[in-house]
Symmetry: C2
Amino acid sequence: MISDFHPAWLPAEAFRALGSRRVQVRGDGLLLDTVRTEVAAACRRFGGAPADTGLCDVSFAVSSQADLAPEEFTYARGEGVTVVRAADPAGLLHGFFHVVRQGERAFAGDFDERHAPALPIRLVSHWDNVDVHPVMGQVERGYAGGSIFWSAGRLREDLSRVRAYARLLAAGGINAVAINNVNVHEAEAHLLTDRIGEVAALAEQFRAYGIRVHLSVDFAAPITLGGLPTADPLDERVRAWWAQATQAVYARIPDFGGYVVKADSEGQPGPSAYARSHADGANLLAEALAPFGGVVHWRAFVYNHRQDWRDRSTDRARAAYDHFTPLDGRFAPNVILQVKHGPMDFQVREPVSPLLGAMPSTPVAVEVQATQEYTGQQRHVCYLGPMWSEVLRFPFGRPVAGLVQGMVTVANVGDDPFWTGHPLAQANLYAAARLGWNPALDPLALLDEWIALTFPGHDPALREALRAIMDESWQAYERYTAPLGVGFMVRPGHHYGPDVDGYEYTPWGTYHFADRDGIGVDRTRATGTGFTGQYPSPWRDLYESLADCPDELLLFFHHVPYAHVLRNGATVVQHIYDTHFAGVERVEAMILRWQQVSGLVDEAVAARINERLAQQLRSAEEWRDQVNTYFYRKSGVPDARGRRIY
Amino acid sequence: MISDFHPAWLPAEAFRALGSRRVQVRGDGLLLDTVRTEVAAACRRFGGAPADTGLCDVSFAVSSQADLAPEEFTYARGEGVTVVRAADPAGLLHGFFHVVRQGERAFAGDFDERHAPALPIRLVSHWDNVDVHPVMGQVERGYAGGSIFWSAGRLREDLSRVRAYARLLAAGGINAVAINNVNVHEAEAHLLTDRIGEVAALAEQFRAYGIRVHLSVDFAAPITLGGLPTADPLDERVRAWWAQATQAVYARIPDFGGYVVKADSEGQPGPSAYARSHADGANLLAEALAPFGGVVHWRAFVYNHRQDWRDRSTDRARAAYDHFTPLDGRFAPNVILQVKHGPMDFQVREPVSPLLGAMPSTPVAVEVQATQEYTGQQRHVCYLGPMWSEVLRFPFGRPVAGLVQGMVTVANVGDDPFWTGHPLAQANLYAAARLGWNPALDPLALLDEWIALTFPGHDPALREALRAIMDESWQAYERYTAPLGVGFMVRPGHHYGPDVDGYEYTPWGTYHFADRDGIGVDRTRATGTGFTGQYPSPWRDLYESLADCPDELLLFFHHVPYAHVLRNGATVVQHIYDTHFAGVERVEAMILRWQQVSGLVDEAVAARINERLAQQLRSAEEWRDQVNTYFYRKSGVPDARGRRIY
């Protein structure tokens, strides 16, 4: 499986330990064939041998074992043999990649472990358009070139890149993919019906790596595709239409995963047009999918995007909770409520969405965004593993990871030679995949894992430098952009670069309310929008309290004077200045560190990283100067350290 | 010449006085044929008669008269006969439309007048693209639908609308048109060479009404079209290429007008790439055009559009003067330096460009923008005649109209049923055309003239209402948008609607520098950018003086505290509040007035005006609230009258 594409975290070298040994694979079926093919290629390269019988160093076997869950595998070693067992082929595939990740450690000492995915749903969601959208381009919020699936409005003829991609995803533990944008435009709507063949062709690529294909669908499809006069979820003709359409999908793709739906959100159609609830809407599709084992991913990203900025009582942060908690328990079992990790929209810092802790009787998936819409658009180094880890560990009594059934990651790949634009942005896709399998993983350890796999055999100086550059790069980005959890301050539309007031007087519900005296959104119960009341204890009181609210979320929850003293001892305005200078200094340090080791990597990779770091520095300086100048002009407070503010 | 298109200021009724009489036309040639066709149509409709010989009520005749200048005509009446004479057919055509405009007045009493255009160059400039540009659309800064020339990347098959348009322009006194965007994209570049046939087809339509066609060209055409390695204006191959290309143009279009060039501006190529001056660049093209009597319109809109907002010493307002005054006297006689009326970019209020008074040895044309890029985009009523009149009358010793050779009007028409989106925006094109012929005309009288022509025979109540709505609509727009001459505060890109800080931290050089204490751009010689020094006396001192500077330009020239007291007695911030409330009230009054008379006009026209007025009110309220809130948040000063600021 050596491909022409950038190997990312599966370079040939990663297979050396396995490929130089005698490897037994027992079991049948497509995924076992995949493992055998992988083994054969590795052994060819490194001198090992597939061993069908007899003596071997490592054995992979599917055997019916009642105590093993789907996708689970055992990983044990004794008497010089490493043994991986699973009850299903998918478990064995995961076990195979586990051995690859372990390298030589898989062949040393004795151990006896079990590995099962914490979250059964681990889906990568592509916001790819078939046709290039005039505003959003081919990949909505994509920063890595065109779609790897579609080109010029049609399925690509050569799908070898898709196969290589499926392999990378599987190696991270992903088991599902949604192949089109949640904003379903006209051409994409037809994937459900007359263009289902294209979906089937993609499913064939993904199937070999145990990944089920999902489709984003248009809730109004019964009208737009079916010619019905309505898409009312309680209308019998509509139910029949979805049943028939879904049956036709499964006739072509027996392991089809299900639908992803963005309904009644940002202009997309939905059940509200018929005075029906989101539960009615979701259950309609769930009913059609249930006979085939499919699921509906129903997105909770629903809010009023035509808000009046003058109206301070409406709070976009409240919207998902207000819409969906009354419906808890009313969704069919094969509906997955897909909830963005924060209550707003993938900002560099948000509190965890209270909805994640408020739907005990509904299967929920948490949605994260690997594509760096608001976090540097893959021109900035911004390793997001730590942010997602914080979300997954956040305790609503139990941690979020214990409350949800799945993790959905918005993809950050395209037909870019390095998959992700910025080569270091690969780490985000990798970390998201791995955290879905095991949310307890330490994100820094995951970073090390990604570095070791992606740059195997390289100088330790390189690995240390990459770790130093990428660790806390999220916090660096946070420092030089919108301060203290207030969010946005980006250029409207494309969302790259600063524009402090860019969204301040718009209908999007994303405000900071800065005036000459202070800044922040009062979301308290006492005097504000009451959003803090959506949290259970202790969070409802902690966020409510000006004294207890964590600094990094202060302006998300409170409107405070510039002279307010943070828990860290600085005033708000001095903290803004300090962090913005510090953020840029951190980027300068990144660049210095990188210059010391850039000669140790492939020239093309080095050139791309060089170019991106230079962009990041320019952009960080622009952020620093615009934000500092904005607050200096507004507050009149000079920098205590006398640094240059324009 | 009754056409299917909206008749604008040439409805059939406008021809009643003429068409009900005996009309003699003497002379030969294309324009005389045009006059004869007009006369025949009018007489057919209203019962008059073309009178080739003998008794007549009105006579139009071309006769060689040494004392009549090109395009001039005499207009006299005695013994019951009205006589129009010209030395050239163009003069006679202008005289014909003069008689049409006069209606019954042309046949009453005795008079003896001469009419000659004050400005020989009266050009309407279309910013039309052949291909729809992905960002700028088909008509750059167009608010009236697609191009009347091109559709789907090709010349329209049916050019009858172009003919009707030429007739309207001629009736206003226009004698030249430029048919494509000054930003010359790839498809449009080819109009000069292999697509010249399309230009010729348009020229044929315009020729019948005495209008010469001009073409915007790509300065780099010798490279992009000619395959040369350079476009250096001093390179012999380049000179030969332009000579040959121009000769080919004239072979197809013997009365071709010339070239329009935007060079070294906003990314367009120009002579600076070869370290050559604008004079070198313009003279290159002038040399190619001179043998055929053509001219080069060389635009003076040249500035650094990659400015650093941190740098307060660079002043975009200075740029045109700084670039071009050193070159005065170095341009060939058939170069027309085309200067925007203000030093920035068609804002609702700017001082007059000092460059207009600083090029005594160069032919200059003043450029105005009928397309309402920054003045409401033809959704707002904004009659600009008074603004242009102010510019033309502005005294640099002599009035601007006495210093320039021409007036160029950026077109506001498209394939909209009413030509201009907002039906009342037709008045701007009409006024611009008429002011080019006679800059001394009173803009309010011109408004009345347009109303009387466009709504002939209507209830006087309608005419009075339209006058009340449109008169001072410019000032109304000014009141609710950017205050006191500071400009911009628009949404970046499309330039519609408010965004006070939208351009504040951008490279475009358009800043207001508002902070918690004050606002405005210090352009004084004493402490600012020195821009005031580009003006001759008395303006250099008047603008320099905080006490003498006119209120409406205060923030263009000075940075002042919010508490600064204006000449009108209000503080700056209170003036901002007052004018923004007043501006909206004025729009409300417009709507009330319109509702009283809307039933008196054609239903489609009324519906369109209703819809636009409703949009204007919403937009004006948005401007009012955003601007007031912005300054309240920044200054902390409450409205003295306690009105609602959010």
